[in-house]
Symmetry: C2
Subunit: 608 residues, 2 copies
């Protein structure tokens, strides 16, 4: 059967049955929605992705954004896709009615976004970043900043960026050197002149919209001209490509120039720039060098505020990885059904070749791929459902619980999805054999696109430090307890179902093993902990995804109307595969983590 990248039957199961979306409609914020309105939005996303994003997938890889005369131009088809996306209301969808948004739950926004990312992740990045940028400003901006920097983004007249990294400061933002020098104030807020270089800026320049709203991290110099040390000295600024006056009229071109484009392995449809702020060589707004920026929040709060968008972006990266993995899987299933090669051990030599989907090793790959792709997608949807829980929390305790659980799962949603999503795309190449290694098939590009995900918005190593070195240490107990109650509830339900009790037993054992490792972390030497953090994070991800598979399988097996469906059979097969072939190795990883070996920490760098 020709499958969509994201099977709608499965998506409905995940969103409505597994995550209980309809419960949200009782909340005032989401009162305008119902199952039908959500279905209509998901229909629209599916159609728009298929009509405007997918058809230019290959083309946007072959024809990269161009840079000449200081300006970046992108494929007209990419620009048109973004505008269509904005006009259909997807940028504004999660915003309040006041801002002409639809107030859709985050879970729905995520489900819709998955369609665009599966179709063309690079083309969808402009929209994703714009929503994130506008959300941050809607929360922390002044009314006039919202008027002139949020509304145009929601309307598709401007896009947003996040300008964090610098050539010498990627993972270590405390070392940024971009300076923000006070320059009075105007109706839009306290003004500064920004001087510095920002690297890896996705959507940093383009000709899709007239204006671009950069959110820039910079440091306000001390009285002696030096920059404050570390992250505490970071502030956040709005730096528009074109200045805007109090009435919203366009003024001077700001002093932001494109120093060059990065030429990437994949993800080529998104322009990715080195931006120089405040050089004064090409643009001198109001007659003076220095990019004009407006302070957001208070000085020194920059990183804390930026984390609002960064956490959202981390989940979005996980979503992109999962969506690409879903399409990689769907294409693999289609190919494996069509491609005839060899015979199974039950067939005679004279039989015509069988579809490769019948070969045991191909089934193995498809099962693994399904576990990674759907597991990652489910994990990201769960994170977005926690955002909705937090948004609609009845009291402070409920808010904190949702926030803690979300905090615990965010590095997992980012990094497990990225690492194993790439693996799903890798398997897609393998299933396609030699054909999959050619640029004639999408899986080759899907792999290259997906390979960015373990890198951007914090590498896998950085997520491991966040998870094992921070999340588990500081707030681990409460957050783990919250998750534990969900995990053990699933185990109890599974214990009653034939064939699943053995999985429940394994999961509970692994969970308790992990929990005891986690409790011992505060007494572990820091270098030893850091050298084992990535493995531990990955092991936790596997346990969480194992829980998700069991939870979904229990749910669908217990639903009389669906328990005999193809969807149920697929969930059951994936669950059985994951528990038999994937989870057992986690036991050894946790066994190792219990002793926190110093093998790596004690290795001097001189041995290499």
């Amino acid at each position: 059967m020709g499958q969509n990248a994201i099977d709608r039957d499965n998506l409905d199961f995940l969103v409505f049955d597994w995550l209980g979306l309809e419960a949200l409609f009782a909340q005032p914020l989401f009162a305008d929605h119902n199952r039908q309105s959500v279905a209509a939005l998901l229909d629209l996303a599916e159609k728009l992705a298929a009509d405007r994003f997918l058809p230019v997938y290959k083309l946007s890889d072959r024809v990269e954004p161009a840079f000449s005369d200081g300006e970046v131009t992108v494929l007209p088809e990419i620009a048109a896709a973004h505008i269509a996306y904005a006009e259909a209301g997807f940028i504004a969808a999660p915003f309040s009615a006041e801002l002409d948004g639809l107030q859709v739950p985050e879970t729905v926004q995520t489900a819709a976004m998955a369609q665009f990312m599966a179709a063309n992740v690079a083309a969808s990045a402009y929209g994703m970043l714009t929503t994130g940028n506008a959300r941050l400003l809607a929360k922390y901006g002044t009314p006039l900043q919202i008027e002139h920097f949020v509304r145009p983004q929601l309307a598709g007249q401007a896009t947003g960026t996040m300008c964090l990294s610098e050539p010498q400061a990627g993972s270590s933002l405390g070392d940024i050197r971009t300076r923000a020098v006070p320059d009075g104030s105007d109706a839009l807020g306290a003004r500064f002149r920004i001087i510095g270089n920002k690297m890896w800026i996705s959507g940093g320049d383009h000709d899709i919209t007239d204006n671009i709203v950069h959110l820039v991290l910079a440091k306000i110099p001390e009285a002696d001209g030096t920059l404050p040390v570390g992250t505490a000295g970071i502030s956040l600024f709005i730096v528009p490509k074109w200045l805007i006056d109090a009435e919203g009229k366009r003024g001077d071109r700001n002093d932001v120039i494109v120093a060059g484009l990065n030429h990437k392995m994949g993800y080529r449809g998104t322009s990715n720039c080195l931006l120089n702020f405040g050089e004064g060589t090409r643009f001198r707004p109001e007659g003076q060098a220095g990019a004009i920026g407006y302070l957001v929040g208070e000085p020194g709060q920059g990183l804390a505020i930026m984390f609002h968008m960064m956490n959202e972006a981390r989940i979005a990266v996980g979503l992109g990885a999962a969506a690409i993995a879903m399409r990689s899987h769907a294409l693999s299933v289609d190919y494996a059904r069509e491609r005839a090669q060899g015979r199974t051990s039950q067939q005679s030599k004279e039989a015509p070749p069988t579809a490769i989907i019948e070969h045991p090793d191909v089934k193995r790959m498809l099962l693994a791929q399904k576990c990674y792709a759907e597991g990652a997608f489910s994990l990201v949807l769960l994170a977005s459902r926690l955002i909705d829980d937090r948004t609609g929390a009845a009291d402070k305790a409920a808010f904190q619980d949702a926030d803690l659980l979300l905090g615990l799962l965010t590095p997992i949603a980012k990094t497990w999805s990225s690492e194993w999503g790439v693996k799903a795309s890798d398997i897609a190449i393998q299933i396609h054999g030699g054909y999959g290694y050619t640029r004639d098939f999408d899986v080759e590009q899907l792999y290259r696109d997906n390979r960015l995900n373990p890198i951007h918005e914090g590498t896998t190593g950085i997520q491991g430090i966040d998870f094992a070195g921070r999340k588990l240490m500081r707030e681990g107990d409460r957050a783990l307890d919250l998750l534990e109650s969900r995990v053990l509830a699933t185990c109890r339900s599974a214990s009653d179902l034939s064939g699943l009790a053995v999985h429940a037993h394994r999961l509970e054992k692994l969970w308790r093993q992990f929990h005891s490792v986690a409790k011992a972390l505060p007494s572990v030497d820091r270098e030893a902990l850091l050298s084992n953090a990535t493995e531990l994070t990955d092991a936790f991800g596997h346990i969480v995804v194992g829980w998700i598979w069991l939870d979904q399988t229990v749910l669908i097996m217990g639903d009389a109307a669906r328990s005999e469906s193809r969807l149920a059979a697929g969930k059951r097969a994936a669950c059985d595969y994951f528990y038999n072939h994937e989870l057992p190795r986690i036991t050894q990883v946790l066994e190792l983590a219990r002793s926190m070996p110093r093998v790596i920490a004690d290795t001097p760098s001189s041995v290499f």
Copy 2:
């Protein structure tokens, strides 16, 4: 320190100390060689690779082979590199003195080839294929075939290909449809007219040399015109691009046309063609359609003879993967020493950023990468040493022992090196962060080049079937016993060394666990076996590589002159990492393999 892709100190250790190359010089075949002559050859390889192959690495990725007017042209720099390689004697090196070869041991040829593959795997493919083609013909060809098809290849006047796959028959060669119709005979042998399509032909056309010697698998039709079923009906033919007469004079252009080039993810410097034989549209040799081919060996022996070249190619694929992995690692070490970012947990916030090689998670990645890269390289060198053992065997029993052990290790040398070699290249991107994802850094291309290796010359799944479904079943006992005696000898030596006894204990336990699984295989249901074959093959590879690491570490720790060297410290650190962080999970894989679960085999394809 700026390192070569393949550290010479390490290479010398591997070849001379670990593999005891000098013992071979006592054999008449290798009597002309000594440590100095081998060193000179390796020096030459290193220099030629650095001077001619490496400088065009990027360029050969950007500028792919071109196809116009039916002819393929490659970069002049690639052509020049190949000719320089041939002129330096590397194609002929392993051949007999009669053929103007140097009679170098295979171990040395492999060590030399590694330099070229590390520098530019795609450019080196022409040479690798030519040596393999010429070797097959030197063994199975007639004297006149050797004169006109082997000598020109050794002299760099022709290159060789292997034409096996067809668009509908990749892994399943029994289904090829290329026909060979008898067409009399001439001085060069029994003639046939070849009609059919061959896919994925590396070096299938180019303008590097005048002539190309294709080795083509085809079927001679039965009396009723049908093709014989299965692999038993396959014969092998020499099909030159240009016909040659008995005196070696060039005649008509043969009826072989290029239908198109494949555009690959990487490995772009090697032309890769769809070839149509016998269409008669452009060339009609001797006035008639049909490519003229000369039978090699007897009818029906084609696949058996071709396995001579295929087994060599499988080891060469493992070597390519290992060599790319070695360069990926060397570049990663260099970058990790140069790139400053963040601080270790022992440094204060005010300290200047540290080189990332000091970060625990970066050390973890470098250790893993070193284990995969050097482990794979050692494994392939070991396989080539077994070829030398076989060549120089004193009697039939010694020949058979070397052949059995080589047969057991060949699928591992191909597939473990490919799978984990790619992983080493993947880690290189991760260590380089965002920079590694750009085409400005070689690691991005190294990854793309390396990704072919788990596919060509038999995918990982096919190697798993060969290993678990054939090698372990048919000849497993004797081959495993031979390896066991080596493994246990290493364990005994390691037991006496401080800190290594624990590894010896683990290795012996894993080995016995694997051996008992292997012994039980003949009674396992075939579909269940095939569905677990890839995991089992990978586990065996890990055990073999674990043994290799321990064996090398024991050797160097016991060498007083070297036990305090950087080389020894590196071996020891990698060994400790591999035994602590990698091998434990194999226990679980073997635990699983013991029960040979039917989870995958029983999954119906309809669930996807």
